[in-house]
């Protein structure tokens, strides 16, 4: 074994050393193949550990377990029939999808925009970058409480500052969904921005320098180089925001409790109403199992998109 001083990683590109042509140190084949699995075993254990309560929760959906029915028995798909035939359930699906799609899209667009703007390293940018993360520091539950106060038409600061008077209701039946989306994007756009910014900062310089030599405009570089390389990072942020937005509960519940009427009744709020307010755990579990299926399907789809984007990014780099 040679004893060279460790090279600092990630310095200047070097010519491949003659050492590269030497064969790698020998490791038994089986060990090499097994390595990735061994590295992943602890994670696997955790996965299994969490699956059990989840499976139990899912099991409730097939019972008729409720407070008025403490000796539940198996009812097969009765709960599903009841929930899927309930018009309010479908209304909640619509609200949930609307919320998730709009909120995630807006958060992503603004978040990526912020990341690009901050990446320029202007003076303002550097100052603001330090406080980018502040809204994330406020727990959604608390943010809901605070925004509800700000939205109040009689004493809230928003109507006062924006000159809307005391008759504009942010949380009326027509406005509630939009206001709730506004709160969500206030809290979580920084999440997207941070992820994408970290991603931008770890992109390799060479492709950009090379294309600048070729005289490429900024837009060209952005579209052909940066965006494809950045897509995987953006998509990770999108996946997380979309999954979380499908399950959204905390701040919406504080703001409107799913109202007025059913205007902001997302699926998890519906599940909460059944499980906790009405103490019908089985029906609540049914709601949540259906929500879980929805999230699963969309995640599967988004992850496959992510895979394609990663392959394309690898192509763009070389």
């Amino acid at each position: 074994m040679t004893t060279q001083t460790p090279k600092a990683p990630a310095t200047t590109p070097e010519q491949p050393s003659p050492a590269a042509t030497r064969p790698l140190p020998q490791v038994p084949n089986w060990r090499r193949k097994l390595r990735p699995y061994l590295l992943s075993i602890p994670a696997l254990v955790i996965v299994i550990g969490i699956l059990y309560p989840f499976a139990l929760g899912a099991y409730y959906a097939f019972l008729n377990y409720a407070a008025v029915n403490p000796n539940p028995h198996f009812v097969w798909f009765d709960n599903f029939k009841s929930v899927l035939g309930d018009q309010i359930f479908w209304q909640s699906v619509k609200v949930t999808l609307l919320f998730a799609v709009i909120a995630t899209t807006v958060e992503t667009v603004i978040g990526v925009g912020l990341a690009l703007l901050l990446n320029r390293s202007s003076l303002i940018g550097r100052v603001f970058e330090k406080v980018l993360i502040l809204p994330l520091m406020i727990a959604p539950v608390i943010a809901g409480v605070m925004w509800k106060l700000m939205f109040n038409p009689q004493f809230g600061i928003l109507n006062h500052v924006l000159g809307l008077g005391n008759t504009f209701d942010w949380l009326s039946a027509n406005h509630a969904l939009w206001s709730v989306i506004l709160v969500d994007l206030w809290i979580f756009t920084p999440f997207v921005a941070i992820l994408v910014l970290a991603g931008i900062r770890s992109l390799p310089k060479e492709p950009f320098e090379a294309s600048q030599v070729d005289g490429a405009s900024w837009f060209y570089m952005f579209r052909k180089l940066m965006l494809p390389m950045l897509w995987p990072y953006i998509l990770v942020a999108v996946i997380f925001r979309f999954m979380d937005n499908l399950k959204v509960f905390d701040h919406i519940y504080v703001l409107t409790a799913g109202g007025p009427g059913v205007a902001t009744r997302t699926l998890q709020i519906g599940a909460f109403e059944d499980s906790i307010i009405n103490l019908n755990y089985s029906r609540g579990s049914t709601y949540m199992l259906l929500l879980w299926i929805l999230v699963f399907i969309t995640a599967r789809y988004l992850v496959s998109v992510l895979g394609k984007a990663q392959r394309r990014a690898a192509g763009a780099e070389s």
């Binding site: 407070a67 008025v68 403490p70 009689q154 008077g165 949380l171 103490l279």
Partner: protein, 450 residues
Amino acid sequence: MSEGSTGPRMSRRNMLAAMGLAGAAEVGGGFDWRKASGSTINILQTPHPYQLSYQPLLKEFTELTGINVNVDLVPEADYFTKLNTELAGGTGKHDAFMLGAYFIWQYGPPGWIEDLNPWLENSSATSAEYDFDDIFEGLRASTRWDFTLGAPLGTGGQWAIPWGFENNVVAYNKAYFDRRGITKLPDNFDDFVQLAVDLTDRSENRYGIATRGSKSWATIHPGFMTQYVREGAVDYTFDGTDLVAEMASDKAVDFTKKWIQMQHEAGPTSWTTYDYPNATGDLGDGTAMMVYDADSATYPKNKPGASKEAGNLGWYAGPAGPDGNYKTNLWTWSWAMSANSRNKLAAWLFIQWATGKESMNKAVQGGTYADPVRASVFNTTFKRIAADQFGYLEAFETVIGDSKIQFTPQKAFFDTTQNWAVALQDIYGGDDAAGRLRSLAKTNTSKVNL
């Protein structure tokens, strides 16, 4: 039907029964406060003026009985989430907990709470000075039910002991009324609505009447339900076998229309988000001129420094019904005991102490505790403390005779009553009242008889 092996709670319950944990019957000998000395109990509370008033007194309990008390506090919005989960999970960790009266209808049937009658009747467990009948009759009845569909409150087990309660009456900005020269307070609902409208001036950010409107069962039970029954409407009628929902009766539709119209013309702009602190808060801020809600919530707001309009508030019983009745819906926070508690005697001693004359007299003196559930405490200490609250005592005495839970007890209370609130929100948003209430009544009738 499987015999309870799928419910997570069942096996534990059987186990506890097998262990023969002491029920009331096992307590013998003479009464002694120190009977359970050395034990520790866990109690579950939610932030409330009652809880705050009693906090400094807890150490007196420990000195008296030798029982240690661990307090866990859960935020109000999540209190019943936590309590439901714990009771459904059957852990019995908290021996005693704060309970609202309607929750008895939900926690009682699955056997999660202990019937306190045997404890009350056991003179070895209950002090001779306890005087249970000193507690107002409406309250004692409101916490008893036999869980039979169609049976009224007042018979069956005693599922919780009332601790503090609220009458739903009207609090108003007396200083403003005096400035405006309003001397006669409306004694019927139409005049009341008219007054509220007259008081409203949006350009001055002032409106006539604040009530709850958020998407919750809690929107129905204070002012709305009180006036609803005063106007002669009922929530359900019992036809011998089933309950029939009556929210779409003529009187009900009439009243509901007027109530919603009042919100539009004289209520807060964001009525559909207004919850308990919003409604009472606006009165304290001087934005709302009247509030139709719990007297105990507006009571502390009149203390100096508590709110902007402190010192300016007054109370009255609200508009009477067309026949002059003052039926009022009450809410009570009570103490209940977990059926799975492992320290039942200690828990019972705590409940006894907390609802006893001595501690209640002390708590009332703090000036934020209203209303005391005991007639003796009311007639002496409370009358003294609240004497300077304009109209408060008169309002109380006007309604106390007819103040009880006006709802028909049923196990689907929260589901059906939240639906009712949703219907109100829909009507507020423009739905036709009669049609919407008819569909509500249909849904509720089917839910209530399941």
